[in-house]
Symmetry: C2
Subunit: 623 residues, 2 copies
């Protein structure tokens, strides 16, 4: 089972192509300015500046977080996915410039990390828990692989290989013991293996994965070493489970610790399980995926409920107002979900993939392409956010940039690469996993999925094969010549030659209830259209939104709003609001609230906060 890679797929979708174009025309050029510290009134990045110092081209001081290099790597990776779709001389030139600079910053032995080169020379590998060297190496490798695959240019790939080789010489059985505080290199090494076929990279990934959580606790030993300095002082209090190192990964059963770290690690585990046919590891992945998605995931596809540590907490702890739900964590969940699909072929993996993409991921970027959310709460009352320090991490408006800016470049790379996760081939079977307008040609097979609203025309040209169309949760698929399977796929028996198959995929609108163990959601309901979660926003409905009540049997009408894409209707329904009359100077009373009929408007969660500062709420109290 293999995905048709992004380089072979062309996206042409009424909704998602606009996002791709926005990334190309606005986001990536904007980020380049940011990386060069040329955007006024935005937090300074220092990213390129640090590379210049490390390359000996500047003698300024290092600034920025320890993992700042990755912002440039992810930017190059995102540009690569763009270049694999279409020419863009300007962005490619900027990449080449950047790659020259990165190459200059590489040390003679292959080491490459501006923080340790400039700010902490001689301290290499002394703080795997917090130092992020292996994390940076991972993003370097991913960028090197992507740029090579997109352009055929191997300079960055070779830079990354030299660093990977140094790491392979340094760590492993009989060498230095180690694994990264922030997983990422593991999945990157798998990609490096896939492009180079050099087994040692896969072996190194396996070493990092399997060493984690075994024997003496590595990071505690590090912290105890004389002269140890904490990079992030609060990490002093974090235990092994924060780093997914509380036990060997094969024994783990509950998604734990920093959510992005967890998602990247589990993704690599799923890669390794698939490539090495490791059933035990695959079973661990199944358990962790199940726990993540059926006990610790927001209805937006958000994961990681706590601000402190940006972390998973415990099953069924999903607070709407104080939650974290980092954009990057949901991107990581997409990585994990698509790899789980490669492992088990279950269509539900792609329901999760879409649930994350449509909601918590897409929410991360404003409609202008220059404002971003890092944290994606499900309930915001600006007045409360402003005054309650428990919610200090919540932003009521997307930001221009961040001191820790992992999310914007991660958004850029997922939006430019997502077309590489739409189709998969398994011998004579073709999977169409997400119904996003696109096409590809590979080995004599031509596939084009054309979408107009909910109407799809699938053109297939090639030899006989079975086409498996995934039926997304909460949608209805209607068409001729389809055989519906119990496992959630529709099958077309393509007899060969060129054929057109038309179908309608209608997202249903449903009112969702939450698991009764979720303390924060008792008595609440939310609205989903297909796998798009909806919310109410103050600008459409009178504030406070806490007064709204939604009947579980509400009937919705879809409407087009001027400010939204054609493909994203707003929903209107007859609901209720609790009157605020007769409550003056009364905080609690025995007389029940008086309900008034109220028509309410719901918008896709991903689009909130694009029209100024207002209240927002996903879960409404059921009437």
């Amino acid at each position: 089972m293999k995905f048709i890679p992004a380089a072979d797929v062309k996206m042409d979708d009424p909704f998602w192509s606009k996002r791709f174009t926005l990334v190309r025309d606005v986001v990536l050029p904007y980020m380049w300015e940011i990386l060069n510290d040329r955007v006024e009134n935005a937090v300074k990045s220092h990213c390129i500046a640090n590379f210049k110092i490390a390359a000996g081209q500047s003698d300024e001081a290092f600034h920025g977080p320890v993992f700042i290099d990755t912002d440039l790597y992810k930017w190059i990776e995102a540009v690569s996915y763009l270049l694999s779709a279409e020419k863009n001389v300007e962005l490619e030139n900027l990449c080449d410039q950047a790659i020259d600079l990165i190459a200059c910053a590489q040390q003679a032995d292959g080491y490459l990390d501006t923080y340790y080169t400039v700010k902490e020379p001689g301290k290499r590998w002394t703080n795997l828990m917090e130092g992020h060297e292996l994390y940076c190496a991972g993003h370097l490798i991913e960028a090197g692989v992507a740029y090579f695959q997109a352009t055929g240019k191997d300079q960055l790939l070779n830079v990354s290989r030299r660093f990977a080789d140094l790491i392979a010489e340094t760590f492993g059985e009989g060498k230095r013991r180690g694994y990264p505080g922030h997983p990422e290199i593991e999945l990157a090494l798998v990609r490096l293996y896939e492009v180079t076929r050099a087994e040692k990279y896969l072996a190194l990934a396996k070493y990092f994965i399997d060493e984690r959580g075994t024997g003496e606790y590595l990071f505690e030993n590090e912290c105890r070493r004389e002269g140890h300095r904490f990079v992030f002082p609060e990490m002093m209090y974090f235990k092994a489970d924060y780093f997914q190192a509380q036990q060997p990964v094969r024994q783990q059963t509950q998604a734990s610790g920093h959510a992005v770290r967890a998602m990247y690690l589990y993704s690599a585990m799923a890669d390794l399980a698939r490539l090495t046919h490791d059933d035990e590891l695959a079973a661990a992945c199944e358990r962790l995926f199940d726990d993540t998605t059926t006990r610790q995931m927001y209805v937006t596809g958000g994961v990681g409920a706590a601000k402190r540590g940006e972390r998973f907490t415990t099953d069924f702890d999903l607070p709407s107002d104080s939650g974290y739900s980092e954009t990057c964590a949901s991107i990581g969940l997409m990585f994990f979900a698509q790899r789980m699909w490669l492992l088990n072929g279950k269509k539900g993996c792609y329901d999760i993939w879409e649930q994350a993409l449509n909601n918590a991921v897409l929410s991360g970027m404003g409609r202008d392409g220059t404002h971003f959310f890092y944290v994606n709460p499900l309930e915001v009352v600006p007045q409360t956010v402003q005054h309650n320090p428990t919610l200090a991490h919540i932003k009521t408006q997307r930001q221009k940039w961040f001191g820790v800016a992992c999310c914007p470049p991660n958004l850029a790379r997922i939006l430019t690469s997502m077309r590489g996760s739409l189709y998969a081939l398994d011998d004579d079977r073709l999977y169409i996993l997400s119904h996003i307008g696109s096409s590809f040609e590979q080995g004599g097979l031509y596939v084009k999925l054309m979408r107009q609203g909910n109407e799809y025309t699938l053109t297939i040209e090639g030899t006989a094969r079975e086409i498996y169309l995934r039926l997304p949760e909460n949608s209805t698929l209607v068409g001729d010549r389809y055989e519906k399977r119990e496992d959630g796929y529709f099958v077309i028996h393509h007899a060969g030659g060129k054929q057109q198959y038309v179908y309608t995929l209608q997202p249903s609108i449903r009112v969702l209830h939450a698991h009764p163990s979720i303390s924060a959601l008792t008595g609440k309901v939310c609205v989903q259209r297909g796998l798009t979660t909806y919310c109410v926003e103050g600008i459409d409905n009178s504030e406070p939104l806490s007064t709204l009540r939604l009947p579980a049997d509400a009937v919705f009408t879809e409407e087009k709003a001027d400010w939204l894409e054609d493909d994203l209707p707003v929903l209107r329904t007859a609901a209720f609001s609790v009157s605020q009359k007769d409550w003056e100077h009364t905080l609690y009373r025995s007389q029940p609230g008086v309900y008034e009929s109220k028509e309410i408007t719901l918008i896709p969660y991903s689009q909130w906060g694009n029209r100024g500062e207002h209240e927002m709420r996903v879960w409404l109290t059921e009437k």
Copy 2:
């Protein structure tokens, strides 16, 4: 209008006398051991040890927070109220010992503060924002006044006067400008004025109150001074409103900042308004009391919704799980409420007084008298508290002691002094404000309120007068010879001589709804009996408690539970629970939950956590 002071009132109540006895026999002796660092496995206090250093009797190093002296002052104050009720040679001897030590620690010029004497000599008054010298002085004065009133011994009173005199020489118009970061001295100076009749103390209180929030912001200037060191680094980020100094107090309209500071300041403002007949200040007090109690108070009488800063946040922000609701803040609310009553005579002030006392205050102390809550949340899921760092301030079990241990001695002094707030005289009118079994004799008037369950016998002997009995909210008062007034009092026209009046005061049980603007409480209800708030606890009801649903028209039966006082029934009612069946591996679904009938047991909120670690929940989702 004047209260009959604690010294003149004898408490004899089936419920509250047990608390008094517990404080006498267990809490105060236990605290003495704590203050002397003799309790194993409890956080060390260092309180007495610091006084010994300051007194030149030890050369150890200072330990503990900057305001640690107050633990001893509050302990002496609590013992004083006990001694004003009954002899206790042992505790009185310990007090005398402690007072000798305190006197030795006083500097030649009257200054007294172990932190600044031992740890930061020469830094007096340089950090009014954080240094707590004036706060400590306030508690010293309160202890001096209380011990003098209880025993006639004036050593501590004189010590405190010498310090107050030094402060009066130091601060004021034409002298050093200042006011305390933590109000407390203001209300203490009023007490000192009332016992000494020295106007300068009242003038100093007025200066501190009226200087606050005027002109250049004092604390910002302090922080900017060269060599300034923060005692509490997080205070760096706190603005003037944290210290109730954002504007002159007379202009303030919203309770803001650190909740205990706010309550102590507003209490002093109410004192000053009353004593100086200052209508403008009284109006400010009315506004702040209204905001506190009708927009920012938990149904438990808890105030201060945020952990960081232990502070008020904004109107209608009252989260159940992450809330703070410090025990001391509710004690402060009792102070504020009883002073508001002196100002305006409105019976509702005492509803607040009882609501705080019966719930958030009483909750602070365990039934054993040796375990305490500092934070009083309205919803606890131990598994979540353990794993979600947002809730790190929540304790699921009462603690032996605290690094910052303001609450336990504050509990001791409120439980030993509350009898001084039960009766008030206004010329020929006697107010009976809270129906707690007790008696007093003063100026030829003898009053005895005997309580057996809900049956009361009021004996009055003395000249003709009107007796005003407060009707507590959510209760029914039935008896002969009572005239019900619209303002919530029942009046007895006592014609003179000795008379007995019997009445029944039956607390009603009601289901409460919250103001529709409280985001955290939409669709939720809670149960109150009289002014006692109830909760469900896991030990009585199957966990998770999030599955429970309560009908707003539920009918309750009262039952006696073996582990509870006679006067505190548990409540039972027919409710519902959402089945957890058919939710395996499902986090969200459109199919509504299946309700099952379930009889549930509710216990008084103040008594939760006395039977091991379990879930607890005040607000249940309405069915």
